[in-house]
Amino acid sequence: MAVLDAFYHSLGWLWLVLGAGFFLAGTVALIRFPDVYSRLHALTKADNLGLGLICLGMAWELGWGRQSLKFLLIWLLALLAGSVSCHLVARFALRSGLGPDDPP
Protein backbone atom coordinates (compact mmCIF):
# COMPACT_ATOMS: atom_id res chain seq x y z
CA MET A 1 0.00 0.00 0.00
CA ALA A 2 2.87 2.34 0.75
CA VAL A 3 4.18 1.71 -2.73
CA LEU A 4 0.82 2.62 -4.22
CA ASP A 5 0.73 5.78 -2.11
CA ALA A 6 4.19 6.75 -3.20
CA PHE A 7 3.26 6.11 -6.81
CA TYR A 8 0.12 8.21 -6.43
CA HIS A 9 2.00 11.13 -4.91
CA SER A 10 4.80 11.01 -7.44
CA LEU A 11 2.20 11.18 -10.21
CA GLY A 12 0.74 14.24 -8.49
CA TRP A 13 4.15 15.88 -8.43
CA LEU A 14 4.62 14.91 -12.08
CA TRP A 15 1.54 16.87 -13.07
CA LEU A 16 2.78 19.91 -11.16
CA VAL A 17 6.26 19.75 -12.66
CA LEU A 18 4.88 19.23 -16.18
CA GLY A 19 2.57 22.20 -15.69
CA ALA A 20 5.49 24.38 -14.62
CA GLY A 21 7.43 23.10 -17.60
CA PHE A 22 4.68 24.18 -19.96
CA PHE A 23 4.66 27.64 -18.41
CA LEU A 24 8.42 27.82 -18.87
CA ALA A 25 8.07 26.80 -22.51
CA GLY A 26 5.44 29.47 -23.05
CA THR A 27 7.66 32.13 -21.49
CA VAL A 28 10.63 31.09 -23.62
CA ALA A 29 8.39 31.36 -26.67
CA LEU A 30 7.30 34.83 -25.56
CA ILE A 31 10.91 35.93 -25.52
CA ARG A 32 12.24 34.11 -28.54
CA PHE A 33 9.55 34.17 -31.20
CA PRO A 34 9.76 36.90 -33.83
CA ASP A 35 6.26 38.31 -34.09
CA VAL A 36 2.96 38.87 -32.27
CA TYR A 37 1.06 35.98 -33.78
CA SER A 38 3.50 33.18 -33.08
CA ARG A 39 4.04 34.52 -29.57
CA LEU A 40 0.30 34.63 -28.90
CA HIS A 41 -0.17 31.16 -30.29
CA ALA A 42 2.54 29.57 -28.20
CA LEU A 43 1.81 31.55 -25.04
CA THR A 44 -1.93 30.95 -24.94
CA LYS A 45 -1.77 27.26 -25.68
CA ALA A 46 1.15 26.51 -23.39
CA ASP A 47 -0.21 28.58 -20.51
CA ASN A 48 -3.69 27.08 -20.70
CA LEU A 49 -2.36 23.56 -20.73
CA GLY A 50 0.14 24.35 -18.02
CA LEU A 51 -2.57 25.77 -15.80
CA GLY A 52 -4.72 22.70 -16.44
CA LEU A 53 -1.91 20.40 -15.39
CA ILE A 54 -1.20 22.46 -12.28
CA CYS A 55 -4.87 22.45 -11.30
CA LEU A 56 -4.92 18.67 -11.89
CA GLY A 57 -1.83 18.25 -9.73
CA MET A 58 -3.30 20.40 -6.95
CA ALA A 59 -6.57 18.48 -6.96
CA TRP A 60 -4.57 15.23 -7.06
CA GLU A 61 -2.52 16.19 -4.01
CA LEU A 62 -5.09 18.05 -1.94
CA GLY A 63 -7.91 15.55 -2.29
CA TRP A 64 -10.93 15.22 -4.50
CA GLY A 65 -14.12 16.89 -3.43
CA ARG A 66 -15.52 20.41 -3.45
CA GLN A 67 -12.03 21.82 -3.58
CA SER A 68 -11.22 20.10 -6.86
CA LEU A 69 -14.39 21.50 -8.39
CA LYS A 70 -13.10 24.96 -7.50
CA PHE A 71 -9.82 24.16 -9.26
CA LEU A 72 -11.74 23.04 -12.34
CA LEU A 73 -13.71 26.27 -12.26
CA ILE A 74 -10.50 28.29 -11.98
CA TRP A 75 -9.04 26.50 -14.98
CA LEU A 76 -12.16 27.04 -17.07
CA LEU A 77 -12.31 30.73 -16.19
CA ALA A 78 -8.63 31.22 -17.01
CA LEU A 79 -9.20 29.37 -20.27
CA LEU A 80 -12.05 31.70 -21.16
CA ALA A 81 -10.12 34.86 -20.27
CA GLY A 82 -6.94 33.68 -21.99
CA SER A 83 -8.62 32.68 -25.24
CA VAL A 84 -10.63 35.86 -25.52
CA SER A 85 -7.60 38.07 -24.78
CA CYS A 86 -5.56 36.18 -27.36
CA HIS A 87 -8.31 36.67 -29.92
CA LEU A 88 -8.62 40.37 -29.16
CA VAL A 89 -4.87 41.03 -29.30
CA ALA A 90 -4.52 39.12 -32.57
CA ARG A 91 -7.47 40.99 -34.04
CA PHE A 92 -6.05 44.34 -33.02
CA ALA A 93 -2.65 43.43 -34.43
CA LEU A 94 -4.25 42.32 -37.69
CA ARG A 95 -6.26 45.50 -37.99
CA SER A 96 -3.20 47.61 -37.22
CA GLY A 97 -1.59 46.05 -40.22
CA LEU A 98 0.96 43.89 -38.46
CA GLY A 99 1.76 40.97 -40.73
CA PRO A 100 3.42 37.70 -39.80
CA ASP A 101 7.12 38.05 -39.12
CA ASP A 102 6.79 41.79 -38.45
CA PRO A 103 8.42 42.66 -35.14
CA PRO A 104 5.73 43.94 -32.74
Partner: protein, 312 residues
Protein backbone atom coordinates in the same frame (compact mmCIF):
# COMPACT_ATOMS: atom_id res chain seq x y z
CA UNK B 1 14.22 26.46 4.24
CA UNK B 2 12.43 26.37 0.88
CA UNK B 3 9.84 28.72 2.30
CA UNK B 4 12.53 31.26 3.14
CA UNK B 5 14.07 30.84 -0.30
CA UNK B 6 10.69 31.44 -1.87
CA UNK B 7 10.13 34.52 0.29
CA UNK B 8 13.57 35.83 -0.61
CA UNK B 9 12.91 35.30 -4.31
CA UNK B 10 9.52 37.03 -4.01
CA UNK B 11 10.98 39.99 -2.12
CA UNK B 12 13.80 40.33 -4.66
CA UNK B 13 11.40 40.19 -7.60
CA UNK B 14 9.21 42.79 -5.95
CA UNK B 15 12.09 45.22 -5.51
CA UNK B 16 13.29 44.59 -9.07
CA UNK B 17 9.80 45.23 -10.46
CA UNK B 18 9.46 48.39 -8.37
CA UNK B 19 12.81 49.60 -9.66
CA UNK B 20 11.95 48.89 -13.30
CA UNK B 21 8.52 50.55 -12.88
CA UNK B 22 10.14 53.73 -11.67
CA UNK B 23 13.09 53.95 -14.09
CA UNK B 24 11.76 52.48 -17.33
CA UNK B 25 12.13 54.93 -20.19
CA UNK B 26 9.27 53.23 -21.98
CA UNK B 27 6.12 54.40 -20.19
CA UNK B 28 3.98 51.51 -21.38
CA UNK B 29 6.51 49.07 -19.95
CA UNK B 30 6.39 50.95 -16.67
CA UNK B 31 2.60 50.62 -16.47
CA UNK B 32 2.61 46.93 -17.34
CA UNK B 33 5.40 46.23 -14.86
CA UNK B 34 3.39 48.00 -12.19
CA UNK B 35 0.44 45.72 -12.86
CA UNK B 36 2.72 42.70 -12.54
CA UNK B 37 4.05 44.23 -9.31
CA UNK B 38 0.48 44.32 -8.03
CA UNK B 39 0.00 40.65 -8.89
CA UNK B 40 3.18 39.70 -7.07
CA UNK B 41 1.96 41.66 -4.08
CA UNK B 42 -1.04 39.30 -4.05
CA UNK B 43 1.40 36.42 -3.65
CA UNK B 44 3.12 38.34 -0.86
CA UNK B 45 -0.11 38.79 1.01
CA UNK B 46 -0.80 35.09 0.70
CA UNK B 47 2.67 34.33 2.06
CA UNK B 48 2.14 36.73 4.95
CA UNK B 49 -1.10 35.07 5.97
CA UNK B 50 -3.41 37.88 4.85
CA UNK B 51 -6.01 36.31 2.53
CA UNK B 52 -8.49 39.18 2.85
CA UNK B 53 -5.84 41.64 1.77
CA UNK B 54 -4.79 39.28 -1.04
CA UNK B 55 -8.35 39.15 -2.37
CA UNK B 56 -8.70 42.92 -2.19
CA UNK B 57 -5.34 43.52 -3.85
CA UNK B 58 -6.14 41.07 -6.64
CA UNK B 59 -9.48 42.67 -7.38
CA UNK B 60 -8.61 46.32 -6.78
CA UNK B 61 -4.87 46.70 -7.05
CA UNK B 62 -4.12 44.36 -9.90
CA UNK B 63 -7.48 44.67 -11.64
CA UNK B 64 -9.06 48.09 -11.37
CA UNK B 65 -5.87 50.07 -11.01
CA UNK B 66 -4.51 48.35 -14.10
CA UNK B 67 -7.59 49.30 -16.11
CA UNK B 68 -7.44 52.90 -14.84
CA UNK B 69 -3.73 53.26 -15.60
CA UNK B 70 -3.95 51.77 -19.07
CA UNK B 71 -6.86 54.00 -19.95
CA UNK B 72 -5.04 57.07 -18.66
CA UNK B 73 -1.95 55.98 -20.56
CA UNK B 74 -3.93 55.88 -23.77
CA UNK B 75 -5.48 59.27 -23.13
CA UNK B 76 -2.28 60.99 -22.08
CA UNK B 77 0.10 59.64 -24.68
CA UNK B 78 -1.96 58.52 -27.66
CA UNK B 79 -0.31 55.11 -27.40
CA UNK B 80 3.19 56.37 -28.03
CA UNK B 81 5.41 54.83 -25.35
CA UNK B 82 8.29 57.20 -25.89
CA UNK B 83 6.08 60.24 -25.98
CA UNK B 84 8.02 62.97 -24.33
CA UNK B 85 6.17 66.23 -25.05
CA UNK B 86 9.22 68.24 -24.01
CA UNK B 87 8.97 66.87 -20.49
CA UNK B 88 12.27 67.35 -18.76
CA UNK B 89 13.22 65.08 -15.95
CA UNK B 90 14.82 66.65 -12.96
CA UNK B 91 18.51 67.48 -13.43
CA UNK B 92 19.11 66.50 -9.81
CA UNK B 93 18.74 62.77 -10.53
CA UNK B 94 21.95 61.61 -8.94
CA UNK B 95 21.75 63.69 -5.75
CA UNK B 96 18.12 62.58 -5.38
CA UNK B 97 19.14 58.96 -5.83
CA UNK B 98 21.81 59.36 -3.17
CA UNK B 99 19.30 60.95 -0.78
CA UNK B 100 16.83 58.14 -1.37
CA UNK B 101 19.59 55.64 -0.71
CA UNK B 102 20.22 57.36 2.61
CA UNK B 103 16.50 57.22 3.31
CA UNK B 104 16.55 53.48 2.67
CA UNK B 105 19.36 53.02 5.17
CA UNK B 106 17.56 55.19 7.68
CA UNK B 107 14.35 53.20 7.26
CA UNK B 108 16.17 49.93 7.76
CA UNK B 109 17.96 51.24 10.85
CA UNK B 110 14.71 52.51 12.39
CA UNK B 111 12.66 49.50 11.37
CA UNK B 112 15.20 47.13 12.86
CA UNK B 113 14.48 48.48 16.32
CA UNK B 114 10.70 48.41 16.04
CA UNK B 115 9.06 45.94 18.37
CA UNK B 116 6.19 44.23 16.57
CA UNK B 117 2.94 45.22 18.28
CA UNK B 118 0.78 42.32 19.34
CA UNK B 119 -1.43 43.70 22.05
CA UNK B 120 -4.24 44.89 19.81
CA UNK B 121 -4.25 41.65 17.87
CA UNK B 122 -4.65 39.59 21.01
CA UNK B 123 -7.44 41.85 22.25
CA UNK B 124 -9.28 41.41 18.98
CA UNK B 125 -8.95 37.63 19.05
CA UNK B 126 -10.13 37.56 22.65
CA UNK B 127 -13.28 39.53 21.86
CA UNK B 128 -14.14 38.43 18.35
CA UNK B 129 -17.12 36.52 19.66
CA UNK B 130 -18.72 39.76 20.82
CA UNK B 131 -18.51 41.33 17.41
CA UNK B 132 -21.14 39.19 15.74
CA UNK B 133 -18.86 37.81 13.02
CA UNK B 134 -16.19 35.14 13.09
CA UNK B 135 -13.72 36.62 10.65
CA UNK B 136 -11.48 38.85 12.79
CA UNK B 137 -10.66 41.21 9.92
CA UNK B 138 -14.34 41.86 9.25
CA UNK B 139 -14.86 42.31 12.97
CA UNK B 140 -12.15 44.94 13.07
CA UNK B 141 -13.34 46.67 9.92
CA UNK B 142 -17.02 46.89 10.68
CA UNK B 143 -17.26 46.73 14.41
CA UNK B 144 -14.16 47.55 16.42
CA UNK B 145 -12.89 50.19 13.99
CA UNK B 146 -16.15 51.07 12.31
CA UNK B 147 -15.28 54.77 12.27
CA UNK B 148 -12.34 54.14 9.96
CA UNK B 149 -14.49 52.26 7.48
CA UNK B 150 -17.21 54.90 7.65
CA UNK B 151 -14.76 57.64 6.81
CA UNK B 152 -13.15 55.47 4.14
CA UNK B 153 -16.48 55.16 2.36
CA UNK B 154 -16.82 58.93 2.56
CA UNK B 155 -13.35 59.30 1.03
CA UNK B 156 -14.35 57.01 -1.83
CA UNK B 157 -17.38 59.16 -2.49
CA UNK B 158 -15.28 62.32 -2.31
CA UNK B 159 -12.87 60.89 -4.87
CA UNK B 160 -15.81 60.19 -7.17
CA UNK B 161 -17.03 63.74 -6.72
CA UNK B 162 -13.50 64.91 -7.52
CA UNK B 163 -13.49 62.89 -10.73
CA UNK B 164 -16.88 64.34 -11.66
CA UNK B 165 -15.70 67.87 -10.92
CA UNK B 166 -12.52 67.57 -12.99
CA UNK B 167 -14.32 65.98 -15.88
CA UNK B 168 -16.57 68.97 -16.10
CA UNK B 169 -19.66 69.33 -18.25
CA UNK B 170 -17.78 68.94 -21.52
CA UNK B 171 -16.13 65.65 -20.79
CA UNK B 172 -15.36 63.77 -23.94
CA UNK B 173 -17.08 60.59 -23.00
CA UNK B 174 -17.61 57.91 -25.54
CA UNK B 175 -15.16 59.40 -27.98
CA UNK B 176 -12.92 56.46 -27.48
CA UNK B 177 -12.00 53.57 -29.60
CA UNK B 178 -13.30 50.64 -27.63
CA UNK B 179 -12.74 46.97 -28.18
CA UNK B 180 -14.28 46.03 -31.45
CA UNK B 181 -17.69 45.20 -30.00
CA UNK B 182 -18.93 43.15 -32.92
CA UNK B 183 -16.91 40.18 -31.88
CA UNK B 184 -19.02 37.16 -31.04
CA UNK B 185 -16.33 36.07 -28.63
CA UNK B 186 -16.77 39.20 -26.54
CA UNK B 187 -20.50 38.55 -26.51
CA UNK B 188 -19.92 35.04 -25.18
CA UNK B 189 -17.40 36.26 -22.64
CA UNK B 190 -19.73 38.95 -21.30
CA UNK B 191 -22.60 36.51 -21.05
CA UNK B 192 -20.48 34.08 -19.08
CA UNK B 193 -18.38 36.37 -16.94
CA UNK B 194 -20.89 38.94 -15.72
CA UNK B 195 -23.30 36.47 -14.06
CA UNK B 196 -20.33 34.62 -12.65
CA UNK B 197 -18.95 37.86 -11.25
CA UNK B 198 -22.31 38.57 -9.64
CA UNK B 199 -22.24 35.10 -8.09
CA UNK B 200 -18.71 35.51 -6.80
CA UNK B 201 -19.63 38.94 -5.42
CA UNK B 202 -22.57 37.51 -3.47
CA UNK B 203 -20.43 34.66 -2.20
CA UNK B 204 -17.67 36.99 -1.03
CA UNK B 205 -20.20 39.25 0.69
CA UNK B 206 -21.79 36.33 2.52
CA UNK B 207 -18.53 34.59 3.32
CA UNK B 208 -17.00 37.74 4.74
CA UNK B 209 -18.55 36.97 8.08
CA UNK B 210 -16.75 33.69 8.66
CA UNK B 211 -14.04 33.39 6.00
CA UNK B 212 -11.82 35.75 4.02
CA UNK B 213 -14.03 38.08 2.06
CA UNK B 214 -16.21 41.05 2.76
CA UNK B 215 -17.79 44.12 1.25
CA UNK B 216 -14.70 45.62 -0.36
CA UNK B 217 -13.64 42.50 -2.18
CA UNK B 218 -17.20 41.81 -3.32
CA UNK B 219 -17.67 45.40 -4.48
CA UNK B 220 -14.40 45.30 -6.40
CA UNK B 221 -15.35 42.09 -8.22
CA UNK B 222 -18.69 43.59 -9.19
CA UNK B 223 -16.89 46.75 -10.34
CA UNK B 224 -14.73 44.54 -12.54
CA UNK B 225 -17.88 43.21 -14.16
CA UNK B 226 -19.08 46.78 -14.58
CA UNK B 227 -15.82 47.76 -16.28
CA UNK B 228 -16.19 44.78 -18.62
CA UNK B 229 -19.74 45.81 -19.48
CA UNK B 230 -18.61 49.36 -20.12
CA UNK B 231 -15.77 48.28 -22.39
CA UNK B 232 -18.05 45.92 -24.30
CA UNK B 233 -20.51 48.78 -24.78
CA UNK B 234 -23.31 47.15 -22.87
CA UNK B 235 -23.27 50.13 -20.50
CA UNK B 236 -23.06 53.65 -21.80
CA UNK B 237 -21.83 56.43 -19.53
CA UNK B 238 -23.94 59.57 -19.40
CA UNK B 239 -22.86 63.12 -18.70
CA UNK B 240 -25.56 63.95 -16.17
CA UNK B 241 -26.21 62.04 -13.00
CA UNK B 242 -29.54 60.30 -12.69
CA UNK B 243 -31.46 59.71 -9.49
CA UNK B 244 -30.68 56.01 -9.51
CA UNK B 245 -26.99 56.68 -10.02
CA UNK B 246 -26.90 59.13 -7.12
CA UNK B 247 -28.85 56.68 -5.00
CA UNK B 248 -26.49 53.81 -5.74
CA UNK B 249 -23.42 55.87 -4.99
CA UNK B 250 -24.69 57.22 -1.69
CA UNK B 251 -26.63 54.27 -0.31
CA UNK B 252 -23.52 52.77 1.30
CA UNK B 253 -22.65 55.89 3.23
CA UNK B 254 -26.25 56.61 4.22
CA UNK B 255 -26.91 53.11 5.48
CA UNK B 256 -23.66 53.09 7.42
CA UNK B 257 -24.40 56.45 9.02
CA UNK B 258 -27.95 55.36 9.81
CA UNK B 259 -26.73 52.16 11.44
CA UNK B 260 -24.10 54.15 13.31
CA UNK B 261 -26.70 56.58 14.65
CA UNK B 262 -29.25 53.89 15.43
CA UNK B 263 -27.88 53.20 18.95
CA UNK B 264 -28.32 56.91 19.76
CA UNK B 265 -32.06 56.34 19.60
CA UNK B 266 -32.12 54.54 22.89
CA UNK B 267 -29.21 56.25 24.60
CA UNK B 268 -26.24 54.24 23.40
CA UNK B 269 -23.15 55.62 21.65
CA UNK B 270 -22.38 55.91 17.96
CA UNK B 271 -21.54 52.56 16.34
CA UNK B 272 -22.20 50.64 19.56
CA UNK B 273 -24.30 47.94 17.94
CA UNK B 274 -26.90 46.43 20.30
CA UNK B 275 -26.20 42.83 21.33
CA UNK B 276 -27.97 40.21 19.29
CA UNK B 277 -28.39 42.48 16.28
CA UNK B 278 -24.71 42.91 15.42
CA UNK B 279 -24.55 40.24 12.73
CA UNK B 280 -27.65 41.47 10.95
CA UNK B 281 -26.56 45.11 11.14
CA UNK B 282 -23.08 44.31 9.87
CA UNK B 283 -24.50 42.35 6.97
CA UNK B 284 -26.87 45.18 6.10
CA UNK B 285 -24.03 47.69 6.10
CA UNK B 286 -21.81 45.38 4.03
CA UNK B 287 -24.51 44.79 1.43
CA UNK B 288 -25.09 48.53 0.99
CA UNK B 289 -21.33 49.12 0.86
CA UNK B 290 -20.87 46.49 -1.85
CA UNK B 291 -23.40 48.15 -4.10
CA UNK B 292 -21.96 51.61 -3.51
CA UNK B 293 -18.37 50.58 -4.00
CA UNK B 294 -19.12 48.70 -7.22
CA UNK B 295 -21.07 51.59 -8.71
CA UNK B 296 -18.54 54.23 -7.62
CA UNK B 297 -15.55 52.32 -8.97
CA UNK B 298 -17.24 51.65 -12.30
CA UNK B 299 -18.22 55.32 -12.59
CA UNK B 300 -14.67 56.38 -11.77
CA UNK B 301 -13.35 54.16 -14.51
CA UNK B 302 -15.78 55.34 -17.15
CA UNK B 303 -15.74 59.01 -16.22
CA UNK B 304 -19.50 59.34 -16.52
CA UNK B 305 -22.06 60.24 -13.92
CA UNK B 306 -24.63 57.57 -14.66
CA UNK B 307 -25.11 54.59 -16.88
CA UNK B 308 -27.70 53.65 -19.38
CA UNK B 309 -28.12 50.57 -21.51
CA UNK B 310 -25.66 50.54 -24.37
CA UNK B 311 -26.50 50.20 -28.01
CA UNK B 312 -25.96 46.47 -27.98
Amino acid sequence: MTATLFDALLALLLVWLGWRTVVSTNLFNAVVLFVIFGLLMVLCWARLGAPDVALAEAAIGAGLTAALLLEAYRDLTGNDPHHVHDVEDSPLRWPLAALCGLLFLGLVATGWQLAPPTELGETVHARVAESGVENPVTAVLLNFRGYDTLLEVAVLMLALLGVWATNGPHATLGSRQTLDPDSALIDAMVRLLVPMAALVCSYLLWAGAHAPGGAFQAGAVLAGAGVLLHLAERLQPLGTASTSSRALVTVGLFVFVAVACYPLVYGGRLLAYPDGQTKALIFLVEAALTVSIAHSLTLMFSGGRAFQRGRR
